[in-house]
């Protein structure tokens, strides 16, 4: 049985991790504005995929990344899909840890009330601790 599984997974043995049900802390760090580059949308795709693996997932929004979750995005005129409603759907995938750096909001004249999802606003120092706690940090 063990040998068959190894063969089926291309020589990589997942059996141990599956048996022990390892859950790692994943953080996706979002630092790019939406639409100007593809990073924000790609990050969202990966986050949704990660939701299927029952991991402990969180999203951090820093720098221009905070613009991803600003209310009132209307993209019809630029003919690009408005993916901002998807952030509100993350809750349905049990992704509820959304962290926003206060300093990034302040620099942009934004407040928590300008955001379209419930988030935890924190200082840079608190964000640093949150990052340090993670097993895996994936940056976009």
């Amino acid at each position: 049985m063990g040998e068959e599984m190894t063969e089926a997974t291309g020589g990589i043995d997942f059996e141990d991790e599956e048996a022990s049900g390892v859950v790692k802390k994943f953080m996706f760090v979002n630092r790019k504005a939406p639409y100007g580059t593809i990073y924000a949308l790609e990050a969202l795709e990966v986050v949704l995929i990660s939701a299927a693996f029952d991991q402990d997932v969180s999203l951090a929004f820093l720098d221009d990344g905070v613009y991803q979750i600003v209310k009132g995005q209307h993209t019809k005129a630029i003919d690009v899909k408005n993916f901002s409603p998807t952030y509100r759907a993350l809750e349905g995938y049990d992704i509820e840890k959304l962290y926003v750096e206060k300093e990034s909001l302040d620099q942009r004249g934004l407040t928590e009330a300008d955001l379209l999802v419930d988030v935890q606003v924190m200082s840079s120092a608190e964000m640093a601790k949150m990052m340090a706690e993670q097993d895996i940090v994936i940056s976009f």
């Binding site: 790019k32 504005a33 939406p34 639409y35 100007g36 720098d63 221009d64 613009y67 600003v70 209310k71 009132g72 995005q73 209307h74 993209t75 005129a77 630029i78 690009v80 408005n82 901002s84 620099q107 942009r108 004249g109 934004l110």
Partner: protein, 101 residues
């Protein structure tokens, strides 16, 4: 000359470079497009720079990009909105353009 800026002022030096040289020739104007429209929002750290240059040159922002990014209700007063047709008009009206890539 029409100066076109399309990068976020928080990620890139292009807005600062543009603001450094702009306004020294007659008929200079600035058009903010794509992620540069964030510079046109109230309360952002570039607001004072934008307001200062508005005394010398006309500043425009591309409305479809403003609206896409949810910035439509927070645009600094005095910045003029243009649509794609207005963008074409600006290019045609000015003797030449510089895109700050």
């Amino acid at each position: 000359m029409l100066h076109i800026v399309n990068k976020s002022p928080f990620e890139n030096q292009t807005l600062d470079s543009c603001l450094r040289v702009v306004g020294n020739a007659d008929g200079d104007a600035i058009l903010l497009t794509e992620d540069a429209v964030f510079a046109a929002s109230k309360g952002n750290t570039n607001e004072s720079k934008i307001k200062a240059v508005m005394g010398k040159v006309k500043v425009y922002a591309l409305w479809p990009d403003v609206e896409a990014r949810g910035m439509q209700d927070r645009v600094i007063e005095g910045i003029k909105m243009v649509d794609y047709g207005g963008f074409v008009d600006l290019v045609a009206e000015h003797s030449n353009c510089q895109s700050w890539l």
